[in-house]
Symmetry: C2
Subunit: 332 residues, 2 copies
Amino acid sequence: MKKFINNPERVVDEMLEGMVAAHPEYIRKLEGFNVLARKNAPVIGKVALVSGGGSGHEPAHGGYVGKGMLDAAVCGNVFTSPTPDPILEAIKAVNGGAGVLLIVKNYTGDVMNFEMARDIAEMEGINVDYVIVNDDVAVENSTYTAGRRGIAGTVFVHKIAGAKAETGAGIKEIKATALKVISNVRSMGMALSPCIIPAAGKPNFTLLESEMEIGMGIHGEPGTHREKIRTADELAAQLMDKILEDMSLHAGDEVAVMINGLAATPLMELYIINRRVHDILKQNEIKIYKTFVGEFMTSLEMAGCSVSILKLDDELKLLLDAEADTPAFKVI
Amino acid sequence: MKKFINNPERVVDEMLEGMVAAHPEYIRKLEGFNVLARKNAPVIGKVALVSGGGSGHEPAHGGYVGKGMLDAAVCGNVFTSPTPDPILEAIKAVNGGAGVLLIVKNYTGDVMNFEMARDIAEMEGINVDYVIVNDDVAVENSTYTAGRRGIAGTVFVHKIAGAKAETGAGIKEIKATALKVISNVRSMGMALSPCIIPAAGKPNFTLLESEMEIGMGIHGEPGTHREKIRTADELAAQLMDKILEDMSLHAGDEVAVMINGLAATPLMELYIINRRVHDILKQNEIKIYKTFVGEFMTSLEMAGCSVSILKLDDELKLLLDAEADTPAFKVI
């Protein structure tokens, strides 16, 4: 296992120390919990947004804590849901009196633990609601999921619901906007190589040198099938076929595009994928409003990528363009 | 070779098409040349900044074209200097009448070709000057270099000279500021795995499963030595020892830190490295003004990282904090 780590059991703690050291102007760590909170939280009168899940997907979710996105990120062990305790602490730490919206990726453990934390917080008198992101069109059920998985499209939910919260909107309105994003976004990924969970010390699956996994999840969960690696154009088309099949997009519609690297894939290759994704959208007379290319929701050191397409309307465009200032996502 | 590409000979062209498709609000490509220019260039009366070099280091340098950084990036083939022709075209395209400053990493081919382009541009009546970045303390001479190599510290030169140019400063002043950054910045890197140049189709060096290369360059050039992989803390200390040995830093001095991923290394590991780098600086009573953790100057799909330390003064702090709005580097 070739990694820049010290103790495999302490990678999340040490990563969080390194994150807080790097970005004290944005984030602080809650004493005794693996929670990163916005430095100036709670913001009185603003609905607070809390997300999180297993670690190993950085910059998700700690990198998105800051103005115009999240108020807190709860960081579980690698690929492991955080327990209700730290989620509850996050809710209490960032609640500014206007309520807290939880943004949860659809994994059984996350859904269960975020719901449990919500129930306890509500009993303590905090108004908490939640949305579940399930943007991955690859498979209907998976290793850790009943229903579709939540992957990189979640970052659009953070950005747009975060911008809505900054406008002073109430929790119901923000939830409605978040649900619109969820219903409008579709993603799908593919992997060229596995990743190694530090505490396990060995790859979580194996692929032949000529092989790739189509539709795999961000924890290395199986996708739809394996096949011989093909050209970037063919692979982009394969992902887009499945995504577009699942969306109701018509000529003249506007979308945002996210080409997400899972970690080891160079930007060069992501841009080559983006080139073909743009061509396909143009052939379908879909207008591309904004494109994001980079690493937004990773999977340790896995080589691979995902494509997310978000259908926009005037409200979503305005919120997508609103200023965001976080360690890993900035819109000026 | 597992890569998302189509034709190994066309990776740079297709990447640039994908970049322009992704970021039309920032960049345009010069017709017939692999040059990305700022969309609104030339900016009349502003000194223009041009950088570039071989491709495969993305987001360097095309990702840094935009407000507060570069006016153009010249993109050679993978790990190959661009010829004087596209450099000359870049100079002509972005010259706003106040002159053009070239920011060149210290590789023999780059220095020769940028100098040649400068000579021709000067004969055509354009005021062109240049600076050479040589921040890598690992080795004194290397495969492609007489003297020290230029690596991730170059991004600090782009940021700070770019901010200076936005103030309306003249070319001599901007050059002086760029030279101050160059004289104040030191970097060093290490690699866990090689990378594969697409046209070659095989790794450019080999490392055993337990082995790493200390001080290697961003093209896989040899560093100081190979050794068994150690803990992140030990490795961070090894890089910092060599960097600090070469800098004149005293208790109370302020620095900016850049922890740069070479591509395949997850953010998690970069933050674990950052944690120790901060500890070492604090032990030396050095104040950390700002920290950047991410992928700034990569090497295709190589696993590894570099650390850069920039000694600051009041001018450099002000310029580092100035707004920058480019595809890959934003300061709000």
